[in-house]
Amino acid sequence: MFGYMGKILRVNLTTNEVTTEDLDFELAKKYIGGRGLGTKLYMDEVDPQVDPFAAENKIVFINGPLSGTATPTGGRYMVVTKSPLTGCIASSNSGGEWGAYLKYAGYDAIIVEGKASLPVYLSIDEDKVEIVPALDLWGKMVSETSDLLQEKQPGSKVLTIGPAGEKLSQMAAIMNEKDRAAGRSGVGAVMGSKNLKAITVKGSLKPEIARPDGLKAVTKECRTLLKENGVTGGGLPTYGTAVLVNIINEHGVYPTKNFQGGQDPDAEAVSGETLTEKYLIKRNPCHHCPIGCGRWVKSDKSPDGIGGPEYETLWVFAGDLGIDDMEVVIDANYWCNELGIDTISAGATLAAAMELYQRGYITDEMLDDDVILKFGNADSVVHWLKKMGNREGFGDLLARGSYRLADFFGVPEYSMSVKKQDLPAYDPRGIQGMGLQYATSNRGGCHVRGYLISPEILGLPEKLDRFDLAGKEVWAKVFQDLTAVIDSTGLCLFTSFALGAQQYADMLNEVLGTDWSAEDVLLAGERIWNLEKLFNLEAGISSEEDTLPPRFLEEEMPDGPTKGWVHKLDELLPLYYKERGWDEDGIPTEERLEKLGLL
């Protein structure tokens, strides 16, 4: 078996049983790995209507066939489970080193099932796998947990949850190497519900490569393309993802104060250029990554440096809260990492709370003389993040995410979310294709399921009219399908700024010994997208939830270069369903499913 290690580790926390199973090579190739294969393995075993926190729910940790190979950026892993935030399929992925080390330990995936009676962690050193009591770790922050586990198992990579995951916050992340996050969809809370604090992995095994000389050649070609590309060889290494702050803001789609506006006159204070000039200590790359967009930055409170922040984090703790203070952003990023919370959902929930305060739904009395949740109040950010992560006082309500918060007050329309997952840093009123992508994303509000920002704003691979609807359903489908492929290989999505479907097919072919074309891998991506959609439908998430918050459909953008625009989802959605080969209700047709090998 080439590319894969050929082994799945199954861990039952109820019975304390640890077993290994052979990987079905044909099944693996059909769904590639990572997001695709993880979803298939999960769906074959779990009732889509399961309570995400029930012992019957399972959680899959899975790398891809390119993980741990010489291919660029092959260190990622995917977490697949049912999201406690959305009720949809959750596939949340993270960089760093952990995904590659899972492979070096000899495994393609770990399936965790059941629930431990007391806190435990899982220790993996190739064939030596132990479920270890973790009462001493329960309650500890992410970095302390990681340090303690690395002392116990030197040379290992540590994945852990923080207090937010232990306390079942719907925005809890899974962290690895302290500052890398499988952040979205509340996957950390599913670990917490199983009393599973952490997983350490260690090993020195390597996958067998079908055509080593061919892989060497295609890897060299891809590395050259990445190096020569203006984004992956220039903008990202120099400025990180933070470089987006200014360009998104200048286009008037940089959300301010819970998406009440689209342009921030003070955004420069938290821009990539400012971060690089005043705060950057060094780059902080992931495994085998020639791009190196990760940052290691200092602040007054962290003079030795911390990992981050990324663009989404900068926006959500600055423009979205009306603050624009880099020190506040870096401090907020630090506490999200320590508590194990998704920065996007945490900041977006604070933004929603601030709008609810602005409109009189949240009052001073409810906050019990605590710090006021008001736009522009920098003192409120870390204060409420800590309460959110530890579920203290009003923070217990905040820990559930912006949708449940706004719904509690009877006004869910003030949650800027899709399928209850908080939206990222791009206002869809001025990016019509991206809005369609938000509405149809299988994991709820998300930018990395089909990054239409590339053609609509950044001019990559070509510049589209961001207000024009023509052809956007085609772009959305292609981007979604290709992203599903990349997420399944074990590589980073950012490689797609320089590489296309053919390069991904080439790398997979040399590793697996296959002979796939670009069209073949895109078909696999479409298969994965439809599989996820089927899970959501069976879980009770109907296509009626393929929508956007009313603000984007009814309220014209009040300011900036997007002034006067709303999102025209009602025109785009039927075109999208047709492009996907689904019926008018957004249900995949038998004909399409048969073509995709899903019947």
């Binding site: 590309n229 203006g230 984004v231 220039g234 903008g235 990202l236 120099t238 400025y239 990180g240 993802t241 933070a242 470089v243 987006l244 200014n246 360009i247 200048e250 286009h251 008037g252 420069e268 990539g272 250029e273 967009c293 990324e310 663009y311 989404e312 930018h447 990395v448 990054y451 920002i453 590339s454 704003i457 950044l458 001019g459 990559l460 070509e462 510049k463 009219d465 961001r466 999505l493 950012f494 700024f497 900036g560 270069p561």
Partner: protein, 78 residues
């Protein structure tokens, strides 16, 4: 009257964040980048007086008398 040119990322190197230029009737983005020593292929995104579009097309658009341009090299993230 002067127009304002906003520069971003590595376009700021040796030029600064904002460059002000004297306005001359009919001047276009092409005139601006010529004077700044920037070539069209180096530009990934361009905004002229709040309007964005394909770079080549936007470089031909006349700038308003009190207008502005925002010029970006290839940048991305997510």
């Amino acid at each position: 009257m002067a127009i304002k040119i906003k520069l971003f990322a590595n376009f700021r190197e040796g030029r600064g964040k904002i460059v002000e230029m004297d306005y001359t009737p009919g001047m276009t983005g092409q005139d601006v980048i010529d004077s700044l020593g920037i070539t069209a292929p180096e530009i990934a995104a361009l905004i002229v007086d709040g309007v964005d579009g394909k770079v080549d097309a936007m470089l031909a658009v006349p700038i308003k008398e009190d207008g502005y341009m925002a010029i970006f090299p290839p940048v991305a993230g997510g």
